[in-house]
């Protein structure tokens, strides 16, 4: 899909996120908005996702599962889940929880919510498909805050040793976590070098540039898993939410919804 179309799709997904966040009074709006362009590129360009050929689909694991709204909205846009299901997000007697439960909807490959879990499950899945000679690929999105978890680095050590060139990890590098910035809390950078030192093919892109994301997602280096450090802005697309820590938690009131929609309908 060309970048203009991807841009339109991403805007549509952002509008859906604001809508369900407002209806449910949900937190994690900023965390969801920051990865929309990545998810759009994956689901509408890079991944093989076809409802008619569901058995052979590529796998996406949302490891930073507090951004579940972004995945739900993307799946709805893709036609994998219904709008009705989407609007049941976080409602009493609703359809979709704030963090992922794989038994709630098609397209939720892995249950997650606690950080540093989905990534390792994705490694296991990639290895499983490889052993079976199944050509499908596995993609997983991790957070930068999430990358403070020891389990991420345990997995990083082993995935390269397992030569998982069917695995692509994307890091949503928005430099804002629940209560601080990774770059301030710990010795976070240089991220590419760290992954390279662990035996990975590492790339760094602007996580809001479809051209760069498409380029980075293309191809594979034989015998190496790939990590794409995607520099992003938390709350991307809604100026008053951008790079604001409070939008890890704040809720979208009816008034703020109107204001956000003005930016997202342009």
């Amino acid at each position: 899909m060309d970048s203009y179309k991807l841009q339109d799709t991403a805007k549509k997904i952002r509008r859906l996120i604001i809508e369900i966040a407002c209806r449910s009074r949900s937190a994690h709006v900023g965390s969801s908005l920051s990865c929309v362009d990545i998810l759009t590129t994956l689901y509408f360009h890079a991944m093989n996702i076809d409802k008619r050929d569901w058995k052979n689909r590529d796998i996406f694991v949302l490891s930073k599962a507090h951004a579940a709204m972004a995945l739900y909205a993307t799946l709805a846009c893709k036609g994998v889940i219904s709008k009705k299901k989407l609007f049941g997000y976080m409602q009493d007697d609703g359809t979709l929880p704030a963090h992922l439960d794989r038994f709630t909807a098609q397209g939720i490959e892995v249950s997650a919510g606690s950080l540093g879990h989905g990534f390792n499950i994705a490694i296991g899945m990639a290895y499983g498909y490889k052993l079976r000679g199944d050509g499908r690929r596995v993609f997983t999105l991790i957070g930068d805050g999430e990358s403070e978890e020891g389990s991420i680095w345990e997995g990083a050590l082993f995935a390269s040793r397992l030569k998982l060139d069917n695995l692509t990890v994307i890091m949503d590098r928005n430099d804002l976590q629940g209560y601080g910035r990774p770059s301030e809390l710990c010795y976070f950078e240089p991220m590419e070098d760290k992954w390279k030192a662990f035996g990975w093919k590492a790339l760094r892109v602007d996580g809001h540039s479809f051209i760069e994301l498409k380029g980075a997602l293309k191809g594979r280096e034989k015998g190496k898993p790939k990590v794409i450090i995607a520099d992003t802005t938390k709350g991307k697309g809604v100026p008053f939410m951008e790079d604001e820590m409070k939008w890890h938690y704040f809720i979208v009131t009816d008034d703020l919804r109107e204001e956000a929609m003005r930016y997202l309908c342009r």
Binding site: H117, F119, N120, I121, G124, Y127, G155, L157
Partner: protein, 303 residues
């Protein structure tokens, strides 16, 4: 028990292409043959337990029947949240084989004991919990796990445990009566079974001896039928006396308003600083054959 368990898994791996064995740097001398026979379906994921369980879950999601082998603290404690979220919450049929039940590894120290694993495992819905009493039961547990669509935890001691069953174990899901008796019943699980068996020798009145290999879900209907004409139940386990079989039975008695007297023998709920071998530790905590024999005698006197 561990050798019988791995042998049974290897036998199945020869027949089925989806059997997979993972270890976290344990199994020297135990897994060698399996590793040699099925190198492509074996992984040593090193000293990284969170990753080990996550990968096991991921492999399970792609259709592999995964067995994870390690000492108990490294299949259940260090990676409890991975077992909870990745395996049990997602209901992936991964089998955790925990070695070194109770104080098998004494005097290695508390870090290497597993005296609270059943209490911990019982908090996990979907997880089937086994604590086999001998190699015959252990193999049956593996066979259950091989056909199970649920996650399974099998706690075993190490190697060299004697066979205590003189008959075939028909159904590993139900408590097994090893020795008929009346008035008093001794319920037990795991390798401490040898203490129970030797306690029965030379007692004036022989109690009913019942091995309880499957602790979750517990087959209370079958157990209830086996406890007719019993007034006192003695539970024996190499586990904290709270949180294991004794507690399961206590909850059952209280919940159903049953009329049994219950005596729970187990390890006192404390961090163990004693430096003793396995036999010494069992004596210290009152789960040796002598202590069990004495408890049986008192149970008849007070019955």
């Amino acid at each position: 028990m561990r050798n019988s368990v791995i042998k049974r898994i290897a036998k199945e791996a020869g027949k089925k292409k989806d059997i997979f064995l993972i270890t976290g740097d344990a199994g020297f001398g135990v897994l060698d043959k399996y590793k040699k026979l099925f190198p492509e379906r074996f992984l040593n994921l090193g000293v990284a337990e969170q990753n080990m369980i996550g990968i096991a879950a991921g492999l399970g999601l792609t259709g592999f029947k995964v067995f994870v082998y390690n000492i108990v603290p490294f299949v259940l404690y260090r990676c409890y949240e991975q077992v909870r979220n990745d395996i049990c919450y997602q209901n992936v049929p991964v089998t955790l084989i925990g070695i070194g039940s109770g104080v098998t590894y004494s005097p290695q120290g508390v870090t290497h004991y597993s005296v609270e694993d059943i209490a911990l495992a019982r908090t996990l819905p979907n997880l089937v919990i086994f604590s086999p009493s001998d190699p015959i039961e252990a193999v049956k547990c593996v066979e259950y796990a091989l056909s199970s669509k649920d996650p399974v935890y099998i706690r075993i001691a190490k190697s060299g445990e004697p066979v205590i069953h003189n008959r075939k174990v028909k159904d590993i899901r139900s408590p097994v009566v090893l020795n008929e008796g009346e008035g008093v019943a001794v319920l037990f699980h795991g390798s401490v079974s040898t203490e129970v068996i030797s306690a029965l020798e030379g007692v004036r009145r022989r109690p009913k001896a019942i091995s309880v290999p499957m602790l979750q879900p517990m087959d209370f209907d079958s157990l209830g039928r086996k406890l007719k004409d019993i007034h006192t139940i003695i539970t024996v386990e190499e586990h904290f006396s709270e949180g294991g079989l004794g507690s399961i039975i206590a909850e059952w008695i209280a919940g159903r308003g049953l009329d049994y007297r219950l005596i729970k023998l187990g390890i006192k709920n404390e961090f163990i600083h004693e430096i003793k071998n396995n036999a010494g530790m069992r004596s210290h905590y009152g789960i040796s054959s002598e202590a069990i024999k004495e408890t049986i005698g008192r149970a008849y006197e007070n019955g």
